[in-house]
Amino acid sequence: MPDAGVRRYRGGRRPHLAFARSTREFNGDRMGGLVPQDWRFTPFDLHTLVDLPLDDIDVLYLTAMHDQIFLKSIEPRLIGYLRAGGHFLINGHILLPWLPWLSRFQAVSPRPYTNWMVRPAQPGGYFGRMDFSRFHLHEGILGQYARGFSIPPEGAQPLCLIGGPTPDGTVLEGPVDWVWRMPGGGKIFMHNGDHIEQFCSDPRLSPNLLHDILRVLVESDEPMEAPTSAVPI
């Protein structure tokens, strides 16, 4: 246990997750029960990010329905947050990359349906305790977790894969989940699908996906820092 009064996190003695309410958050009234109870938890309106103090936030959580036009308009502020050591946990399909390290969502072929099976790439501590045959199913349905991927920046760790053969005989697959660490800064955890907290993250479940992701985000050095060449600005 840390000594009383010792500041270990940006949020103080315990990590602080700020949950950005946006277009509509699927689990808006549930998140307070899903984030570990020994964390600080602050829900807020995404559009207040224009001047919201970010210094004491460890993880900025974006739902799958976040307003990308707005976030693009405050990109320098968000880069500053990352440079200062803050982490992002981003859900959804990126159409308008609002950080230089994000890229557009690419759908994989839905046929054969097994293309939507999520497979381990380098799951590390983030997904290492998950049962890949089922953690991403929703009431037995395949595909609710995600239907595609995005190309991560140089130096990223691909965590999980999705995709496979396409009708023209080529193969299209990529990382549905990836994490990247800015040299000297924070991490971006990108989930290219629906709300990740909907999967294997009920607090009564162990192992618990959301808890594992959050713990590894703030506690570990995983992934290794990206090369400085990956930070063009």
Binding site: S22, T23, R24, D45, H47, A64, M65, H66, D67, Q68, I69, F70, L71, G92, H93, I94, L95, L96, F105, A107, P110, E139, I141, G143, Q144, R147, G148, D194
Partner: protein, 207 residues
């Protein structure tokens, strides 16, 4: 005058839909900055499903004014237009889809039908392309034309209502943009593939 304005909350699925149906859409109207746009410049304005409800409430009077001025407003739920639209009386009520996995059952169907005589949209889009699930239902207003009803007329999932001043409201509790934009549920894509050509032709025929 332009044909169709597309309200966008900045969500990835809505951005995707705007790209996919760009041939039918004249402009994206960014909802948090709606005061920048003149809605009367559009023959129809579409509010896609899962829009930002806080912003819709903030801009409710603009949509009222548009409808009262003779505009054609199309609103998909779950946007709770009953809470921010005053120009028309909308009575929405909670009603869950009986079995959201009906499509996995042999012979399964969603509990809805297209009333006859068919609305022109129902002539353009078959029942199968209107069925996946829904978010509540409406009480059908007097004089409104139902497009999609729950079995036994337990409620209406989609209708069109003519208003005083030539305004038109098309209300829907099915959510095609969210699923098409997220590349999930092919029926939603088929719906939009029929809906936007129908809407374009409809506003042109009244131009």
């Amino acid at each position: 005058m332009q044909d169709i304005g597309f309200i966008c909350s900045g969500d990835g699925a809505q951005l995707q839909c705007f790209e996919d149906y760009r041939d039918y859409l004249d402009a994206m109207l960014y909802l948090p900055e709606l005061e920048r746009y003149d809605l009367t410049a559009f023959r129809a304005v579409v509010v896609p499903d899962f829009s930002n409800q806080d912003q819709l409430r903030r801009h409710g009077p603009r949509f009222d004014s548009y409808l009262r001025g003779g505009g054609f407003l199309v609103v998909f739920e779950p946007n709770r237009m009953d809470e921010w639209l005053s120009a028309a009386r909308v009575q929405w009520f909670a009603r869950e889809t009986e079995d959201w996995k009906w499509w996995m059952r042999p012979g399964g169907r969603m509990e809805a039908y297209q009333p006859t005589p068919l609305h022109s949209m129902a002539r353009a889009i078959p029942l199968a392309d209107m069925c996946w699930h829904f978010f509540g239902a409406f009480r059908l207003p007097d004089g409104a034309v139902p497009i999609l009803n729950l079995d036994g007329d337990e409620g209406c999932l989609m209708y069109e209502q003519q208003l005083e001043g030539n305004g038109r409201l098309l209300a829907s509790t099915i959510d095609p943009h969210t699923h098409h934009g997220r590349r999930f549920m092919p029926a939603t894509t088929r719906f939009l593939n029929g809906f936007y050509p129908w809407l374009k032709a409809e506003v042109r025929s009244h131009a």
